[in-house]
Symmetry: C2
Subunit: 212 residues, 2 copies
């Protein structure tokens, strides 16, 4: 049998993840138990590690993802309501459309709306032309990453907007739910991605007007 050694990098990650877990447990003291926060951190890491191609920033991405999920959960349970409308964009890969939509909503609504995005089958990384196209508007998506759709973020959302993910998106009763028909920018040239972006931009502006 082909015996291999454990990858040394993961020894290091385990240590970092425990530190993140302790930090977030303190943040959610009295809200969630330390054991639950710990599970959120370690399962978020594994969920991202399954699909992420570049592992370099995986622990800081994990911290960001786990923190956002815990905030979503606290909000959905009415423990720490955000006080602003919460919007979730979902597409298949969370590499193009849902990332653009989230970036545009942040641009137009700033902190008056809380926005998240996720994918039913997250890609390894964001689409390069999507990142370039958003940069033309001054929106920096280089720190964003494809995230799997989780129960907590769906429950936290007041508005769920799906784009091309068919029936793989679980929809909860009582939500405002929309399915937008937006062309998939994957494999489109930069100029065409700009056209998709501008179409999305019009919809996002209307959504912001309706929510605020």
């Amino acid at each position: 049998m082909n015996q291999s050694n454990p990858m040394p990098g993961l020894l290091h990650d385990d240590h970092v993840l425990h530190r993140i877990s302790e930090e977030l447990a303190a943040k959610f003291d009295g809200v969630f138990s330390p054991e639950m926060v710990d599970r959120y951190v370690f399962e978020s890491y594994t969920a991202l590690a399954r699909t992420a191609r570049i592992k370099t920033y995986l622990t800081s991405i994990t911290r960001h993802f786990a923190l956002d999920r815990l905030n979503a959960l606290a909000h959905s349970q009415g423990i720490r309501p955000s006080g602003v409308p919460e919007v979730l964009f979902v597409c298949v890969q969370n590499a193009g459309r849902s990332q653009m939509a989230a970036g545009l909503l942040r641009l137009h609504a700033s902190d008056r709306i809380n926005v998240r995005s996720a994918g039913s089958l997250p890609a390894e990384h964001l689409n390069d032309n999507v990142v370039a196209s958003m940069k033309e508007l001054g929106i920096d998506l280089r720190q964003e990453f494809p995230k799997p759709l989780t129960d907590d973020v769906v429950r936290a959302a007041d508005v769920v907007i799906t784009m091309g993910c068919g029936d793989t998106c679980p929809i909860y009763p009582g939500k405002r739910y929309e399915d937008w028909h937006i062309e998939d920018p994957a494999d489109l040239p930069l100029s065409e991605v700009g056209r998709v972006r501008d179409e999305l931009d019009g919809r996002i502006k209307r959504l912001v007007g309706e929510l605020l």
Copy 2:
């Protein structure tokens, strides 16, 4: 904007999931908090719903998956040790090789070894020829389903065996870890799948001999 109604089926699922959550919370009373069991049930459901094509048995599959993950977690924390070696098989789709390996190990070791399988990118369903090929040995895989790799099952494993998932499998220190070079049965005709199965069978028998 294209306004749709929530899918009625999910109202029903939500109700069933709450019942599953209560049942499992009672099973793990004094081990895990009801809130944590609840998260395990609902996140397991969403994780499976992301990729499963057939949604008919999703709640009973969810119960099975969440229960197995909670058992894995309790074992890994030394709270409820299983008392037998725990083996985890991982491939990309959890639709072929890792399912065959798990089925063969169950055949040869029965309850003397605890076995799990998972995928880094779970498929929509098991490979038909894999199910047929295993049936030739009297092993019924029709109740099995592709599951995403989670942190809890990796931590519970004494032996992790990967097949073709490259560096997407997180490996924890202190585990026995092997990478098996086994041909991917996807798209192979039934006779060739039988050859792959028999090669796996030889390795599984050796593994059982070593572990028991």
